[in-house]
């Protein structure tokens, strides 16, 4: 599967927030999008996933050459896209397992509940999640870190072809950052996923091996390259990129 974004422009209430983005991601590739607060990273992620209030004004989003702009969010997920949220919402009364069971079923796969439970348990152990967390309502009462781990767990269970993880490291302590990164790596390799990691910080990337680094500033990708860009960002910060944009 190839996800391709072509000259994407997005406006919110008349203000352009994504100003012409081009990006191409294939399965098995690891991409990183870095950028300052408000640079448009989350807007880009949500637009790719079809957030109802974010419609492209021009440009296109393609999966294997076919435009997905007219598809609903669930249909995009069924194609193999996944979004790990920056701020996962709490869903009152919906059991974590029940939710994952419903999501698997919606993907038109036959769900073996025992296998699903076993998968969830194994992933929860690998992610060092609190014992009773998966028996509780979806994200309700989870700490910020546990919510992020739960997103990664969902990614492992749903096995998308391309996953966008919006700040999977924010709110995590330093040990948890390592655990999350290792699990993302493992799922990525195991299921040959394309990964788009959105982050502000380089710490999580020190446990990963991104091949493509994109820097966003003011709604545009202002620099692209390999790991060397991360070092430059660490040294110079985002300021030089913002000025350049």
């Amino acid at each position: 599967m190839i996800l391709e974004i072509k000259d994407l422009h997005v406006s919110i209430e008349g203000k352009e927030v994504i100003k012409g983005i081009d990006l191409k991601v294939g399965q098995g590739e690891v991409h990183v999008i870095m950028g300052h607060n408000g640079s448009g990273k989350t807007t880009l992620a949500k637009t790719i996933m079809g957030y109802p209030r974010l419609k492209p004004t021009t440009g296109d989003i393609l999966v294997d050459g076919q435009s997905i702009v007219g598809l609903s969010t669930d249909k995009r997920a069924k194609l193999g896209l996944f979004l790990g949220f920056q701020n996962p919402v709490e869903v009152e009364g919906v059991g974590f397992i029940n939710f994952l069971h419903s999501a698997k079923e919606a993907m038109a796969t036959t769900v073996n509940t025992k296998e699903l439970m076993a998968d969830i348990r194994t992933s929860a152990v690998n992610l060092k999640m609190v014992d009773n967390l998966i028996g509780r309502s979806l994200n309700q009462g989870f700490s910020g870190g546990e919510k992020k781990k739960a997103e990664v767990l969902q990614m492992g269970v749903l096995q998308p072809k391309i996953a966008i993880l919006d700040e999977p490291d924010s709110g995590l302590d330093i040990d948890a950052v390592k655990v999350v990164a290792e699990n993302i790596n493992e799922f990525g390799k195991k299921y040959n996923m394309g990964l788009i990691i959105i982050t502000h910080y380089s710490r999580i990337l020190s446990y990963m091996n991104p091949e493509f680094v994109h820097v966003m500033a003011n709604g545009k990708i202002v620099a692209e390259g390999g790991k060397e860009l991360i070092e430059k960002l660490e040294k110079d910060g985002y300021e030089s990129f913002i000025k350049g944009s």
Binding site: D74, A77, A106
Partner: protein, 431 residues
């Protein structure tokens, strides 16, 4: 003109004098019933056309593929009681004793609607549970070829434990009514729990009136799901009359099409160290309408009383209407009391989140609604009530159906647990 008609017409006249019926402002926060229409429904009643066998067959079809044994079936034309169940008596109004008549809580002066309903009541269901006894009773109420008007009296003796499961169904096929009044007294150290599910059809007007009293250290637990009926008007009065008595009311309303609900509960901590909790939740789809009124009263002298009123709602459609009105009247200082209310449309962030994981929009909404109602459904004590309630909610979400037989399947059913955390946690407190 016969005396029955005179009595009913007098009741109609008095009912129409109610401020709610007169005042335009009140009318907006009130589901008005037409007393004339109700009168006509009851007046036009013919002899029951159903045989006992037909009613028994109906009771077996209430739940798809899973017949549940009812201890008593009460319908407009009669009743069937399981003879093995010695605690239930059903007596004609004309046969009840003066003592029982005196104890009837609904007097014309108290409630005009009750007075109207009394005009139609033919039989009274009496459930007497002696001291220390434990019983579980399943009751089925049906408005069939005749509308139903009855009164249920539950007397739990000292230390008795009474669990009642009530199911309300219809098979009238025309405009009909189901009017059931309750009078329950939990004597000291006793425990009464009632799980009631209303699943009448779209041509039934539902009227419910209840008065409950809990004596010293007694507990009342009332769980209601209002899912059926075209119009539903319910009033509950509860009083924690004895020291350390507790009462917990858990109301769920799920409306669709043009259903109208007016559910009001009045809880009074009439004694010291008593507890009153009211949780009301409503989910409204299509053009349904609901008024939730919760009122808690703590009179002077009820020291160390605890009272909590919580109302919340979810609107699935811009044409649905919900108004929740939590209110409190507190005359005593040394109490804990709080109320809250929150209503809004279904959160689009939640829908997007679930859809991003592959759930179609309708499935996402269904999951959100089921989750919202899940913790309240988890408070139902009767396992059949929990399962049936969850399936009713699922059926209504998926197909908009109500008033029809329901599955008792546990497949894809997720019922939450009762939250045992302190209800005052996170809420504003009076201390």
């Amino acid at each position: 003109m016969n005396s029955y008609r005179l009595f009913a017409e007098d009741a109609i006249q008095k009912y129409k004098e109610l401020p709610e019926e007169q005042n335009e402002l009140y009318k907006r926060k009130y589901v008005s019933l037409s007393p004339e229409q109700l009168f006509e429904i009851f007046q036009d009643k013919k002899d029951s056309t159903e045989s006992i066998e037909e009613i028994e067959a109906l009771s077996k079809s209430i739940f798809v593929d899973s017949p549940v044994k009812f201890d008593a079936i009460i319908w407009g034309g009669g009743h069937i009681v399981n003879q093995a169940q010695k605690n239930i008596k059903i007596v004609p109004v004309s046969d009840i004793s003066m003592e029982m008549l005196d104890r009837k809580l609904y007097k014309n002066s108290d409630d005009k609607l009750a007075s109207l309903m009394h005009a139609f009541t033919k039989e009274i269901v009496i459930l007497e549970v002696p001291e220390g006894q434990k019983i579980q009773i399943n009751l089925l109420f049906v408005n069939a070829s005749q509308p139903l008007a009855t009164q249920v009296i539950v007397n739990a003796g000292k230390g008795a434990v009474v669990e009642v499961f009530e199911w309300y169904a219809s098979s009238a096929g025309s405009n009909s009514a189901s009017a059931v009044m309750h009078e329950c007294i939990a004597e000291e150290y006793s425990n009464i729990s009632i799980d009631a599910i209303h699943n009448e059809d779209h041509r039934t007007t539902v009227v419910g009136l209840s008065k409950y009293s809990a004596m010293t250290n007694a507990t009342l637990k009332l769980n209601y799901l209002y899912n059926g009926g075209s119009h539903c008007r319910v009033k509950n009065y509860l009083s924690a009359s004895g020291y350390e008595a507790s009462m917990y009311v858990n109301e769920l309303v799920f409306g669709s099409s043009t259903q109208k609900f007016d559910v009001s509960s009045y809880l009074e901590n009439s004694s010291q160290a008593t507890t009153a909790e009211l949780h009301s939740k409503a989910v409204l789809a299509d053009q349904s309408f609901c008024i939730l009124k919760g009122f808690a009263k703590i009179p002077f002298g009820s020291k160390n009383a605890r009272s909590f009123v919580y109302e919340s709602g979810m609107l699935l459609n811009k044409d649905a209407y919900l108004e929740s009105i939590p209110a409190m009247s507190i005359d005593e200082n040394e109490v804990k009391a709080t109320h809250s209310s929150a209503t809004g449309p279904i959160d689009e962030e939640l829908i997007f989140y679930l859809m991003s994981k592959g759930l179609p929009e309708q499935s996402a909404k269904k999951l959100i609604v089921e989750g919202f109602l899940s913790s309240s459904l988890g408070k139902f004590r009767n396992a059949t009530a929990k399962l049936a309630g969850a399936n009713l909610i699922a059926e209504k979400m998926e197909k908009g159906i109500f008033g029809a037989p329901v599955k008792l399947s546990a497949e894809n059913i997720w019922v939450g647990k009762e939250n045992e955390e302190d209800i005052f946690k996170g809420h504003y407190k009076y201390r």
